[in-house]
Amino acid sequence: MLIDRYAYGNRLRHTEPALKAGIALTVLTLCLALDHPLTSLWALGWMSLLTVAVARIPAKVFGRILLGESTFLALATVGIAVTFTVATPPEATLWHWRLGSLWIFGTAEELSTALRTVFRALGAVSAMNFLALTTPLVDLVELLRRWHVPGALIDITAMVYRATFLLLDNLNRMRTAQECRLGYATARNSMHSAALLGGNLFMKTFQQGRRFQYALDARGFDGELRVLPAKYQSNPTLAMWGVSGVIAMLGIWRIPV
């Protein structure tokens, strides 16, 4: 929801979404294809700059989102950097601990692979963050429509997006109502309250879906959700930034590490 709020309130809100998606997808592809730590670091810095300085997303917000993703990535790469074994570790370990018969160790090669993976993923993720924080889903849906993605898929995406907010709204209301009547007061009671909430939410969502259908039919729905395409502004400055950034990425890729 935080992302959604900033997507609607940033300086690149009305910029052509194809341009923003083009920049983000190019950076993402280069990060994955080139697999070069300096290129990935450059992508991370450059995407952060575009998001914070150009789109004017608060650095704190961008940092918080990136921190969450970094933590997840760091935990995920622990498996690459650290080896657990009962056998004797190889000679060339960077560090090792012994806990009884269990050896925990890491080699320089494993650490290098882990760091490369983290940088590569962070570069790619920062490109996705740029797109998500500057482009509301409605614009992305519009873009998919222009790219001739099947209508049914687009309609489902749009409806799921809208339904998510209704679902959360219902969920919050029900939870508050339960808490007011001492729901979630004990561990046992919490399980019971959550189960009741889940069941009610399912029924409510089902009924909401039926009412949605009536409302759509009442306005002449015939199987396709037709809406007016939005109008966007071109942004030559951002396009220039995009091209320069990609050229710089390719240049950095030539630097040996």
Binding site: A158, L216, G220, D222, L225
Partner: protein, 251 residues
């Protein structure tokens, strides 16, 4: 003048329910009026409206629109829904699109109008409902009153000759209600027939030019507000005397 709707002995029962929602309902709904449809919860107001729009089909009886019997073919329903629009009690049931402008454009585009004509209608409906500043906003970020006005704009962009508003006023504040009444008055001035389902007798007294009282799925009264409000035994019979004091207080 030809009545806009004629219901003859219409019966309808919801799936899995033993009681009928409409139990032999017979009523003639005049054209060009501001009609208040009054009745307790479960009296059949919403079911009546869903029949008017062809969303429900009577299990027995007949409905006529502008003198012609209802036909439930795809093309007939399309024509009917072009002329009869419904605004639902909860705007969240109606607003499906991510942005306000796109949601309003849905109806006109379904009528087969061009993008230019649709854009003109979206702008016109937004101006009438005073929501031009909201056109770019996501629908989930609107207040209750704003959602009600957007839902109203969504049906007005289809330029219907009949607007059914199902308890639209029940969940909005008095200021938003005034806005809605202004919109309804403008529509009425342009010859639109308006049916407003309500529990509020002050709407009957100060706004409506015609009243239909529903009770247990049948029509207990239909006529002018004066005929209803000055007839004490009728108020008693329709159980409206119990809430009549609220109007007296307001006056």
């Amino acid at each position: 003048m030809t009545p806009v709707f004629e219901f003859s002995d219409v019966r309808f029962r919801h799936n899995g329910q033993s009681d009928c929602a409409l139990c032999g309902l017979t009523v003639t709904i005049p054209s060009g009026e501001k009609i208040a449809v009054v009745g307790r919860n479960g009296s059949g107001k919403s079911t009546l409206f869903l029949h008017c729009n062809g969303l429900y089909r009577p299990q027995q009886g007949q409905i006529r629109f502008n003198g012609e019997p209802f036909s439930y073919t795809r093309s007939s329903l399309r024509q009917l829904r072009q002329r009869v629009a419904i605004v639902f009690q909860n705007p969240d049931d109606q607003l499906f699109s991510a942005s306000v402008a796109q949601d309003i454009s849905f109806g006109p585009l379904n009528l087969g109008l061009s993008q230019a004509e649709t854009a003109r209608r979206v702008q016109q409906a937004a101006e009438l409902c005073a929501i031009t500043h909201l056109l770019d906003r996501p629908t989930h970020a609107l207040s209750g009153g704003e959602k009600a006005r957007v839902a109203m704009a969504g049906v007005l962009a289809m330029e219907p000759s009949v607007v059914l508003a199902d308890e639209l006023l029940s969940a909005i504040d008095p200021w938003a209600r005034l806005d809605i009444f202004e919109i309804l008055q403008t529509l009425h001035d342009h010859g639109t027939t308006i049916l407003l389902a309500t529990h509020d007798l002050s709407v009957v007294r100060y706004w409506a030019t015609y009243v239909i009282v529903l009770q247990h799925g049948t029509v207990a009264f239909s006529g002018t507000p004066q005929q209803l409000l000055h007839n004490h035994s009728l108020l008693e019979a329709t159980e409206l005397s119990k809430i009549w004091w609220t109007v007296k207080l307001e006056s």
